[in-house]
Symmetry: C2
Subunit: 425 residues, 2 copies
């Protein structure tokens, strides 16, 4: 398949998708669910082949688990499709209604972005989630999954295509198969409105540096937890252990622990022993190492996303110093303070320049499902459009409808008509 | 001045600006107004020098009018500062409040974007408007105005700096002076969050192609007016004349007129004579030229922003054909339909992929002031973040505050706590 043609077809499909009713889009999601059930055995067979190849290539156990697509995963994606069907229509929502001058009314109405290119990791269930989020929000989509899941993805895409035939316009979704396809996609700025890359830092940076199409996503996830002088030690230990160890190779895991000087002697040894029990390697600055035994942290540690059982630790003298460190070395993803003092909490909330700023809870909560968004297409550390976990709303934009009865600007200049700027109900 | 240092200072200032209260930001706007009054004679003197140089360089009369900064312009910008002061605070607005699990509450709160770089045209009053919009929304700003207004801009910036001393953090605003400064700014992606370029197509495209910083703006303004078969001829003529001639060198002027075949014989001759009276050169497709006498339009005309007294005309067979033409050749800025038939209106509103889609009114209404936004920093034809005229809201982003009492993700996995996802009042 030629990427250029697929992108051009998606562009045309997007214009048709934007005009479908919510009922038609719901019918498409339900058609997807039915076709996935009907194609189950073909999909499982394709997945078994992918799993065998992966085994032959010695994929790690966690990757193998993500690659697997069985009866349970099928049930999960079908449940997801029905719950997505039930969410309110994100399109056609009026977020501003204003009379500009009598008989001339302005409305800001939500609408699809258009054509989205998504590059995602090895989980084949992600294909169904992303495709269905795009359809619910009226967007056409180009999908590129992990190489090791290609057979499964082909089978899934065949099912989705069949299940939506006659409901969605041809070209609404296409599967890209190779790295070259991704490269080709980056130059289709005439047809593609937004690229959402998920994957390694290096990969996301490569995408950002090689396209003029807007990119939404995150390259790094250098999250911090700061334990203030006013923290409850027990809570701080529990939250830090969760933030570091509940999952390791995830963007919302805490990579650096900042500890207020005053609480360090009481907190650090307890926390260190809890973390070591979970097999975490600790790397501390000089002051940390005067309190407890650990490897030395260098400046490079502050700027590193380990994605592993490693935690860097630094002592700070104030919440302001913690804020400065985080804004300088962090990746503007998610950062937490553990504190009882409300002034410290407030300063942290106002001062941290990140998509998520948390008080007394684990950075691991940064996730579209946990936020109640149904699902997410990605997490954005950019500041424009959507920030943090991106769900249906982030896949929509708006346009202004201005409805008149022959008004001209000249008549406002001559004073024949006057601006009222009156908000409408 | 070194741009890198100014950008880094703006970055630090942005962190402080984000923490100012609305009262403090209002005080800054009022301090600006006072200082402008106090510096009036110095500013006028600087402007007279700019005007003399411009005259020596034979600037056109319209450009000279835009360059002029006199008592009347001063009154306008001061009125603007006070009306901006009175607008509601765009920051700290909670747009989502949700209990994730008992005691763990998620809030989406509006906050400044951070550091904005704005490149604007010769009007010196734009400097005050842009700087004040940025301050009201808590953003630091780097400003680059027209070369011919440099002395005026320096005097204005000196006044704004003095008027906000002790209220705003140092580095909140800086004036860039040369083209090289703009080039230097494009590489400061560590410090600058957003660039808003205003100016010629070629210039905006150059900016978009030479920076990894997000750019918000518009390169082209190829706006259309489509006259449907169901249009009232009188209204259509009045609106088309306004859309083409009310101002010429503006992005929201209509550049191509599409006319339904059935109304062309009744409409075109009347409209053509009204336009010719205003000195507009008409270029028509073959079918147009069978109805009336005009120059031939080529394919290049459909993709040209004249910014001049020229209008291209094409006959179409349906609203769908008009939509296809506009989505293909337009610049997704603002497009209008003149029609009585509600089905045609509805199809046009849904089918046109532009920031503004108008019914029975002039494309010239696409403007932040006319929309009641107070003012605008620019008009965006991109689909992400802000679309159309960008006012205060478009200068803000949001962050998620998650306030807990020790919650961990592990406890949700073991079932010790459950997600409720209950919207809060």
């Amino acid at each position: 398949m030629q990427v250029k043609e697929a992108a051009a077809a998606a562009r045309q499909a997007a214009y048709a998708l934007a005009q479908l009713t919510h009922e038609q889009r719901i019918a498409a999601l339900q058609g997807m669910a039915q076709a996935l059930k009907a194609h189950a055995q073909v999909i499982f067979a394709a997945n078994r082949e992918d799993m065998q190849s992966a085994q032959a290539e010695n994929l790690t156990a966690p990757l193998m688990r993500r690659l697997k697509f069985d009866e349970r995963k099928l049930q999960d994606v079908i449940t997801g499709l029905f719950s997505l069907s039930g969410l309110p229509d994100p399109l056609g929502q009026t977020t501003l209604a204003r009379e500009l001058t009598p008989g001339l009314n302005l409305y800001r109405v939500s609408c699809p972005i258009g054509v989205i290119g998504v590059v995602f990791e090895s989980r084949p269930d992600a294909l169904v989630q992303i495709a269905s989020l795009c359809v619910k929000s009226g967007n056409a989509v180009l999908l590129k999954g992990g190489r090791e899941a290609l057979r499964t993805n082909r089978a899934l895409m065949a099912a989705l295509t069949e299940g939506t035939k006659g409901i969605l316009p041809d070209g609404w979704g296409a599967l890209l198969e190779t790295r070259e396809d991704v490269t080709d996609m980056l130059s289709q700025d005439q047809s593609i409105d937004l690229i959402i890359p998920r994957g390694s830092n290096a990969f996301v940076r490569y995408i950002m540096d090689h396209t003029h199409i807007p990119v939404m996503g995150h390259a790094d996830g250098i999250c911090h937890t700061y334990v203030d002088a006013s923290a409850e030690v027990d809570m701080a230990v529990r939250v830090v252990v969760d933030a570091k160890t509940q999952a390791l190779a995830v963007c919302n895991a805490t990579e650096t622990l900042l500890v207020h000087r005053d609480i360090a002697p009481a907190f650090l040894p307890v926390c260190a022993s809890a973390l070591k029990e979970k097999g975490v390697e600790l790397r501390g600055d000089d002051e940390t190492r005067q309190i407890m035994d650990c490897l030395p942290a260098t400046d490079a540690d502050w700027a590193t996303e380990y994605l592993d059982a490693i935690l860097s630790i630094k002592i700070v003298g104030s919440v302001e110093e913690a804020i400065r460190h985080i804004n300088r070395y962090g990746s503007h993803h998610t950062d937490a303070i553990i504190a009882s003092d409300e002034t410290a909490q407030r300063r942290f909330l106002a001062g941290i320049d990140s998509a998520g700023v948390y008080v007394n809870c684990s950075t691991r909560f940064a996730d579209g499902y946990r936020y109640g968004f149904g699902a997410e297409v990605g997490i954005s550390t950019g500041k424009l459009h959507a920030r943090g976990p991106v769900g249906l709303e982030g896949l929509c934009t708006y346009k202004y409808h201005l409805l008149g009865s022959g008004q001209t600007v000249e008549d406002t200049v001559t004073g024949k008509i006057q601006y009222t700027h009156r908000d409408l109900d």
